[in-house]
Symmetry: C2
Subunit: 246 residues, 2 copies
Amino acid sequence: MHIEVVANIGEARSDDFLHKTVIVVDVIRATSTIITALINGCKAIVPVDTVLRAKELQQEGDLLGGERFCKKIPGFDFGNSPLEYTKEAVQGKRVILTTTNGTRGIQKALKADQVLAGSFLNSKACAAAAIAFKRDTVILCAGTQDVFSLEDGLCAGHILEELVLALGEKQVATNDFGLAMRGCYLQAQHTLYDTLLSSSNGKKMCKSGFLADIEACAKTNITEQVPILERDQMVLLQRSSRRPAF
Amino acid sequence: MHIEVVANIGEARSDDFLHKTVIVVDVIRATSTIITALINGCKAIVPVDTVLRAKELQQEGDLLGGERFCKKIPGFDFGNSPLEYTKEAVQGKRVILTTTNGTRGIQKALKADQVLAGSFLNSKACAAAAIAFKRDTVILCAGTQDVFSLEDGLCAGHILEELVLALGEKQVATNDFGLAMRGCYLQAQHTLYDTLLSSSNGKKMCKSGFLADIEACAKTNITEQVPILERDQMVLLQRSSRRPAF
């Protein structure tokens, strides 16, 4: 199985995703939030580029979520903190979500056969889903405004490690960047929270009072669920359509 | 002290190097070769972009070195293997060198205050030289045709680790990519040779019969010397102009 890890959205070329499975990773915080909302019963997440587009798509009963520069958008129901997307707030609802990097990553991956959302919360389940789809796979680290973000690279390394644990070392081929990210993850795996805190986004979150978000985003393999893009919205991948993740 | 690690030449912008020290790293093989040649008594290395330019610059007594697609250029005295640049072959001579990525990296860094050549052979000495120059520092991983190469990232991580050992953790600030490369180096430090072999260039070298080169390039801190660009040629940095490296 071949897994390519791409360092940031700026380095991604849409045509390279044809016939592939793409796992978009934006640990702090878009994909952590999408996963949290969906496992808390949110019906679907519609990722969009702009605030205007989010408002245009809103139908009766839909909620609006998103951030610009880490802050909630005026008039929106939620920001981009996974902790806001509780069962009480999202169950049975559809959320239109616009964030700076994560939703851009999903848009960029539209030509892929499958677009999944990955974070530390579901790395193992992402690995299992990628295996079940039997396609070459790209892990697209969202990064921050076309610059590499440590937490996304670490998560890519975590997904790679789960693939190696599932298939064996010899069955997983990756590019040099993937090898580096797996090494980096193995080095950091027992101090993940502290390592996230040392990253550029970790420091930013800390300054903005979102320390609890880092803690939430640093939890590993707490769910077997994987969000998948169906038409224009992310929903939970039906377990029947893949081999068991656990 | 601030150290920025840049993943490959394509990501580097010349203007970002103004007033800085740049350490160009092309472990397999240009900077390993430059260091080896200079410590073996070569008078100077002139890095140039093209084969034509190398031939134009050649004066009486000068030797020509370089490769295209890992192979020696027809009519040249040397390829790009550090093992060719022995004392017998290079002592007292000037070598005009053209390689695919390393010399491009040096050209790209010309706006910097100082341009140094780094590899595993002199990581500690590079760290000491960067400290002595008291400038913000960029480690420019040459990569391979604008794609990240594992061995260059690992060496950047090694130089960062040497900086941390010399100055203490709190005195060394780096970007997320630097944090990742340091983590990756720490994970791989005791299996460096095998890790280089697993990289894309390592495999290529192995296939082309250059296994001994990987072994030569994987040796760490075997010299206190650091090549520095003076006008258009690389020479050994005079030890008197910096604090002792060891």
